[in-house]
């Protein structure tokens, strides 16, 4: 995994070049970059750009030095680093100075530097990874999934309307309803956290996943009244991503660790508006043209292009 925090080189296309080398290249979100560096996986390779703030640069450097040697590199478009070689003494594996402001380094140059840092361009296992098969998945085996995240927006409103007991009953009914809808369309309701439901589909069944997601949004009013006998409408957020995870049966998913799932949860909770459907660029390519047209590009999030439907009003 490659993590990048870069404004100048990033805009010039450095991130795109890195993505061609490693699909798992992500952009560190603006804000507390220091914290993100500290919490990044120790094998991740981090590119950090010096900013025109010496104090912040010192903080960033201290955070980088706590990482294992040769897992970080400095981007210095303004030429702020007095002695670039000293960075290598501190553990950096690369330095891209102001000379690259005119033209970014060649892909081969970056590949070489990454290789020196121990990075291997072996991305084939990801591609060759078996697609999830809902009929007979093997416990513990890594699969490629099409994940669909269904999340209730502001579930506290439900509590106000239904009370604690009513909420518990409704949650159970909604779970059963969603489980049936997904099963009928080749998906498995995999992980549930309160009012957030993660459904696993095979990537081959992406159309069915889209169908389920859109159905939930389109028929939200009808489901609330007819199926759940509510006298108000709930707001939903739906998001989808293609990614990998080790399979564990529903109910025993506490140990499942997956960057793809984390990333989807972030997308669903932080970037998807109420009553809309977000997908990542990986999903877009697998969709039929008519469906693709429903999703508009709304920018980048965690290093991926995000596409979104309009908001489905009542």
């Amino acid at each position: 995994m490659i993590l990048v925090s870069s404004s100048v080189f990033g805009k010039m296309g450095l991130i795109d070049i890195l993505k061609t080398l490693d699909k798992d290249t992500r952009v560190l979100t603006e804000g507390d970059v220091v914290k993100q560096i500290s919490s990044a996986h120790e094998q991740a390779l981090v590119f950090v750009e010096w900013v025109k703030d010496e104090t912040l640069n010192q903080k960033l450097l201290r955070a980088l030095m706590k990482r294992p040697a040769k897992t970080w590199a400095i981007l210095d478009p303004y030429g702020l680093q007095q002695d670039p070689a000293s960075l290598f003494h501190l553990g950096a594996f690369d330095y891209l100075g102001p000379e690259f402001k005119k033209q970014l380094p060649e892909k081969a140059r970056l590949k070489k530097a990454l290789g020196w840092a121990g990075w291997e361009p072996e991305v084939k296992p990801r591609i060759q990874m078996a697609d999830f098969d809902p009929v007979k998945p093997l416990i513990g085996k890594d699969y490629r999934f099409c994940f669909l995240l269904v999340d209730f927006y502001k579930p506290e409103n439900l509590r106000n309307q239904l009370g604690d007991r009513g909420v518990a009953l409704f949650r159970n009914r909604y779970k059963n309803f969603l489980e049936k809808l997904c099963q009928d369309n080749g998906g498995v309701l995999w992980i549930q956290q309160e009012f957030t439901f993660l459904v696993a589909f095979s990537p081959k069944s992406i159309e069915m996943a889209v169908f389920v997601g859109l159905k939930l949004l389109l028929s939200r009013s009808l489901h609330c009244i007819e199926v759940f006998d509510l006298r108000f409408f709930v707001d939903l957020r739906v998001s989808m991503h293609i990614g990998t995870a080790p399979w564990q049966p529903p109910g025993r998913t506490g140990q499942v660790v997956s960057d793809s799932i984390n990333s989807l949860f972030h997308l669903g909770m932080k970037r998807t508006p109420a009553n809309a459907f977000s997908i990542t660029e990986d999903c877009r390519d697998l969709l039929p043209p008519k469906v693709k047209n429903l999703f508009q590009n709304v920018g980048e999030y965690e290093g991926r292009q995000i596409l979104q439907t309009p908001v489905f009003l009542l």
């Binding site: 159905k215 609330c224 409408f233 489905f312 009542l314």
Partner: protein, 306 residues
């Protein structure tokens, strides 16, 4: 309709174990006001009748007259609501209901009537409505917009396939709400709703069709152009007949066609004021009164940005 002997015997037993002879006689009169026990049974009035014989005569006569379902419906009513101010709880009634359910009949609690389960048999009269009789029904009218253009501009196989999928979807949604398709002419048709909360069910069905059409166009429509529909729901007294010409002349049918053809925009559902006033508030709030046609309410799918 053939009633198995075991169900007949079971009903006879439930009757004589729970009701006195005089109540049984009144029950029979509720089903058939001309019922004359002595005439049917051949017993002389001077000879006392025992409960078993009385129950047997009543049940068998109702089966002969094809009024067995009416008999059971009245038994349920007596058991639940009593009769002439007294309560008559009937034990083991559920066994009869279970027996009828295995024959393909569903009991509608709202209207306290049995009707055919569409999964077993979906006749247009639900197995109950009588020819030329008037009933209070909700009608759903659906029309495919620009049908002629679609047929002209597309290959026949694709049109057949698209309309085939679409019809299947509509039929499933109508039956799910206990409705029946009364007519279908390729470019649209009419569905009737009699059981349950008929107006509400018709509106649920129409909303479901409209919302599913959106997905149909995205994922299943083999045509190059999207299908568009116009829908209307109205309720009122409506004649039932196997002859389309007859039932289509009823005021309710005429009005629902008028609502669809005159007041409905493509991909819209319009409902009459009468229907709107019967809907629960949350459902009714989904509809907006048409600006240029007061008393007519409309629903459309609305999308916003990005």
């Amino acid at each position: 309709m053939r009633i198995p002997g075991s169900l007949i015997n079971g009903t006879i037993r439930v009757l004589y174990e729970n009701l006195h002879i005089d109540i049984m006689m009144k029950l029979a009169k509720m089903v058939d006001e001309d019922f004359d026990f002595y005439k049917v049974s051949g017993f002389r009035e001077s000879i006392p009748v025992n409960s078993q014989d009385c129950a047997s005569v009543i049940v068998k006569e109702m089966v002969r007259q094809n009024k067995f379902l009416n008999l059971v419906e009245n038994m349920i009513q007596i058991s639940e609501k009593g009769f002439m101010g007294r309560s008559y709880p009937i034990k083991n009634l559920y066994e009869i209901i279970k027996g009828l359910s295995s024959l393909g009949f569903i009991y509608d609690q709202v209207n306290q009537l049995f009707f055919e389960d569409a999964q077993i048999n979906a006749s247009k009269n639900w197995g109950r409505l009588l020819e030329d009789n008037d009933y209070y029904l909700a009608l759903l009218r659906l029309d495919i917009v620009h049908n002629t253009k679609i047929v002209r501009q597309n290959v026949k196989e694709k049109v057949d396939q698209a309309y085939g999928y679409f019809y299947e979807m509509i039929e499933r949604k109508v039956h799910h709400r206990w409705g029946r398709i009364w007519s279908w002419e390729g470019d649209g048709g009419m569905a009737a709703f009699f059981y349950g909360h008929r107006q509400t069910y018709a509106v649920y069905c129409a909303l479901d069709i409209l919302q599913s059409l959106f997905l149909f166009n995205l994922l299943r429509n083999p045509l190059d152009t999207d299908l568009q529909i116009r829908m209307a729901v109205h309720a009122g007294m409506q004649k039932y007949s196997t002859d389309q010409v007859k039932w289509k002349k009823s005021d309710t049918a005429v009005r629902v066609v008028e609502l669809e053809s005159k007041y409905c925009a493509p991909n819209e559902l319009v409902i009459s004021q009468g229907v709107n006033s019967t809907l629960e508030k949350t459902l009714s709030n989904l509809f907006e009164e048409k600006q240029k046609a007061s008393g007519i309410f409309a629903y459309k799918i609305k999308l916003e940005g990005p």
